[in-house]
Symmetry: C2
Subunit: 228 residues, 2 copies
DNA sequence: GTGCTTATTATGCGGTCGCATAATAGCATG
DNA sequence: CATGCTATTATGCGACCGCATAATAAGCAC
C-alpha cells in the first residue's frame, strides 16, 4: 500500500475542546431523544458522536456532567424559543403572554423526542447533583421570564392586583401539565386548545377571578390577627 | 443429617397464581419506586420478590406485562385515594372538588417514590403496547371522575355554563403540573398552595372567567358560518 | 401412599454495560 | 524538521443484563 502512504488520511481529527464538547452534547441529545433512558450510555453516546468512549471522561468529569450539560443546552434553546416571541411583543402584556403560549405549544416544542429527553432529565434529577444544579439555574431563568411577563400584565390599567409569584406557579404548572398530556397523547386535544386554556387562565387572573391569588392590602403588622 | 429428613422444610412454597402475581406486582412497584428505571429488571424484581427469575415469564407474558400490571395497580390505588374523599361529599360540588384536590396533594400522594415510579411508566408508554392499553383505561376512569365532579358543579344554580370536557383538560393539566413541580422540588411551594390554586381555577370556571371554556349557545346548523 | 400437574428453581449463553489502563498520533511550537 | 503536549484510540476486565432450557419438587386428586 505504498500509494496510500503519501495520501494517508489522519486516523482522527484533533478538535478544540469546546467544539468537541459541543459535539458530545449534541450526540447526547440525539441519543436521549431517540432512546430515552437507554440512551444514557457512554458507549452509545460516543458511538453517536463518532468518537471513542474515552473522550467523554476526558472532556467531562463523567457521564453525569455531560448529561447535565446537555440538559442545559436543550433547556436554554427551548426557553429562548418561547421567550423570544414573547419579548418581541412590546405593547399589550396579554399579547406578549399569548405569544409565549403560542411558541410554547408550537409543533417543534411538542416533538415527542423532546418529551422523551425531558423524562430522562427528570428521572436523573434526584441522583445527579450536577443535573440538579443546572436545573436550579434553568428554573430561575424560566421563573424570571414568566414573572416578568406577569408583572407587565399586573401594571396594566384595569387589571386586578395579584401575587406575581403565586400566579407564576399556577401558570407554569398549567403549561407543564398541558405539555405533558400533549406529549403523552398528542391526539387528546389540539395545541390550539392548550393555548386557549392558558389565555383563559390569564384572563381569569386579570379579572380577579382567583381569590387566593388576589394581592390583598396587608393590614399593618400590629393589627394582624391569626385565625384560630 | 438424618434428623433433618423428617423435618425437612420445603425449598419453596407453591402459591396460587393470583397471589403470586400480586407479590410480583408489589415487588415491581418496590423496585421502581426505589431505583427508577433501573428497577425495571427481571433479575432485580424477582430478587425483590424472593423468587427466581423464571417466575416472571411464567406468570406474565413478559416484563412489559408485569410493569403494565404494576402501573394499573398503582394508578387504581391513587385514583381511589382521590376519588373516595371527593365522592364522600354529597352536597356542595365545590366542596367535593376541594376534597378531591386535598386528597390529590396529600403527603402520601406527593411521595417522591411515586413520582420516580410514574416517570418510569411515562417513559415506557411509547414502547410498551401493554402499558399504553392500561394507560388508556386508567385515563378514561380519571377523566370520568373529574368530569363527573365538574358536571355536578355545572348543574349548580348560579354557575355559568362551561364545556365540561375542555374544563377537565385544563383542570387535570393544572393538577398534573403542580404535582410534577412539587415532586421535583418539594420546597418550591406548599401543597396547600397547590390546593388553593386548584380551588381558584374552579372558582374562575364557575364565575365564567374563562371565555374559551364558556358553553355558548350553538346556532342552528344551517346558520353556522365558518370564518375565513 | 402414588402419580400427575405445573409452579418453581438452577444454570448456561451471548451481549452490553462502565471503567481503567496503556498505547497511539494529531498538531502546535520551536 | 524535531519535539512535546494531550487529545484520542484500543483493549481488557468484571458485573449485570434478558432469555432459553432442563431439572426439580410441591401439593392436589385419586
Amino acid at each position: 500500500m505504498r500509494r496510500s502512504d503519501a495520501a494517508a488520511e489522519p486516523k482522527f481529527r484533533r478538535a478544540p475542546p469546546d467544539a468537541r464538547r459541543e459535539e458530545l452534547i449534541a450526540a447526547t441529545l440525539a441519543c436521549l431523544s431517540r432512546l430515552g433512558h437507554e440512551g444514557v450510555s457512554v458507549r452509545r453516546i460516543s458511538a453517536e458522536a463518532g468518537v471513542s468512549m474515552g473522550l467523554i471522561t476526558h472532556h467531562f468529569l463523567g457521564i453525569d456532567a455531560l448529561v447535565a450539560a446537555a440538559y442545559e443546552s436543550l433547556a436554554e434553546r427551548l426557553l429562548a424559543q418561547s421567550r423570544g416571541p414573547a419579548l418581541a411583543v412590546a405593547g399589550d402584556p396579554l399579547e406578549a403572554l399569548h405569544a409565549y403560549f403560542s411558541a410554547s405549544f408550537a409543533p417543534r416544542a411538542l416533538d415527542p423526542a423532546i418529551f422523551r429527553t425531558w423524562l430522562v432529565f427528570w428521572s436523573l434529577v434526584p441522583h445527579s447533583p450536577e443535573l440538579r444544579t443546572v436545573r436550579e439555574r434553568v428554573d430561575r431563568e424560566t421563573r424570571a421570564t414568566l414573572e416578568a411577563l406577569l408583572s407587565r400584565l399586573k401594571r396594566m390599567p384595569g387589571v386586578r392586583p395579584f401575587k406575581v409569584g403565586a400566579a407564576r406557579i399556577g401558570l407554569s404548572a398549567l403549561m407543564d401539565g398541558l405539555w405533558v398530556e400533549l406529549s403523552l397523547n398528542p391526539s387528546s386535544f389540539e395545541p390550539a386548545q392548550a393555548i386557549a386554556l392558558c389565555d383563559d387562565w390569564v384572563h381569569g387572573l386579570a379579572t380577579g377571578a382567583f381569590p387566593a391569588l388576589l394581592a390583598l392590602r396587608r393590614a399593618p403588622l400590629h393589627r394582624r390577627r391569626r385565625r384560630r
